[in-house]
């Protein structure tokens, strides 16, 4: 382990350890998945024992949950919210709608693949995922963070042009800035 070049430094290890255990999440309540979150957060499933709790504003949040289908109209706001969030930031896509369109696969006004527009770290499948699967998704994200592999935000910065191109394909006449923090 000590000779492994890919191993994390002790600083990174501590950083990732603290990050994974204090995920402040911004539940952007799109679609039907938002109704699973009260159950996940309250006493029965109690996600706070994993360090996951709500944040009031995008700038205070680490984790963005996209809970279900996204219409193109909502996508504009989601992109703005995502860009307002500060590093480190992670995205979880909920349910089949964010994975491949789900039951809205032939709808003219909902996007089909979320990861073409913003980087997604973890997908939770199901329609809708129950709180158990949501917690499994949180655990998966935590293990990714601990391993230093949850690098969605870095990917977004690197490939901003590619993401912008995809976003502009559906968001015509909407001002999208050419930079990102």
């Amino acid at each position: 382990m000590y000779n492994d070049k890919n191993a994390q430094t002790i600083v990174e290890y501590i950083q990732n350890f603290t990050r994974k255990n204090s995920l402040f999440m911004l539940a952007y309540g799109t679609g039907c998945g938002a109704i699973e979150l009260p159950a996940t957060l309250t006493s029965r499933y109690d996600a706070e024992r994993l360090g996951v709790r709500g944040a009031a504003t995008p700038r205070q949040a680490d984790l963005l949950l996209i809970t279900g289908y996204l219409s193109t109209k909502t996508l504009k706001r989601v992109i703005r919210v995502y860009e307002q969030m500060q590093d480190p930031k992670y995205v979880i896509g909920f349910g089949s709608c964010t994975i491949n369109g789900g039951m809205y696969w032939d709808s003219y006004n909902t996007i089909k693949l979320l990861d073409k527009y913003i980087p997604v770290d973890v997908y939770i499948n199901g329609c809708m995922p129950r709180p158990e699967s949501v917690i499994a998704g949180f655990k998966e994200l935590q293990s990714l963070i601990a391993a230093g592999k949850a690098d969605g935000a870095a990917k977004y910065k690197e490939n901003l042009e590619w993401y912008r191109e995809n976003q502009k394909k559906v968001l015509k006449n909407w001002p999208l800035v050419e930079y990102n923090w």
Binding site: T72, K73, K76, I99, N100, G101, W105, D106, S107, Y108, N109, I111, K112, L113, K116, N166, K169, V170, L171, K172, N173, W174
Partner: protein
Amino acid sequence: METSLIKEELLAQQLQNAFENIVTEAVRKDTVFAYASKEQVSSILLYAKEKLGYKSLAHMSCIDWLESDEFELVYIIWSPETKLNLFVKTRIDRQNPEMENMDMIWRQLNTYQREIREMFGVEFPGFVGEKEFILEDWEDAPPMRRDFDTLEYVNDTFFEREGREDKQDVRERIAKRSGEEIPDFAKKYSRE
């Protein structure tokens, strides 16, 4: 048991007496249809509102009759006294769809007209309302028209997950794999 439609027949007769060239029908309990021409609709609605007490506008909707090249507009109004629904129906030309603006009769019609203008492309001359209702930056054909090909639009605009292009019905495969039997009521939906 056949329920009697006395109230309904009465309303149908009242309208029949007041207007020429309209067809009325007491279709079922609490429901009366009135088929009228485009020009007559506003006077029927005003008459029903002022004289017969049909104060409440319940709904306005549009139906696309692609085969006969027409749009059908339906105004549903309701009376708190008789508790009857009156459906005023009219057909307009599909190539040049125009309807009288009636949001001065019921202000709620403003919202319905905006929706129908956006979703079906029916124009209401003289109607002042926000241009956009639900869609933003929509440049294609009105999406609720039946000749708008949703799937084609989706294929042009959005991305598809690789490996899911064929959109297979995997229900039977999963059932075979796990040795389950598909219940009879679900078999008729099978695509295989």
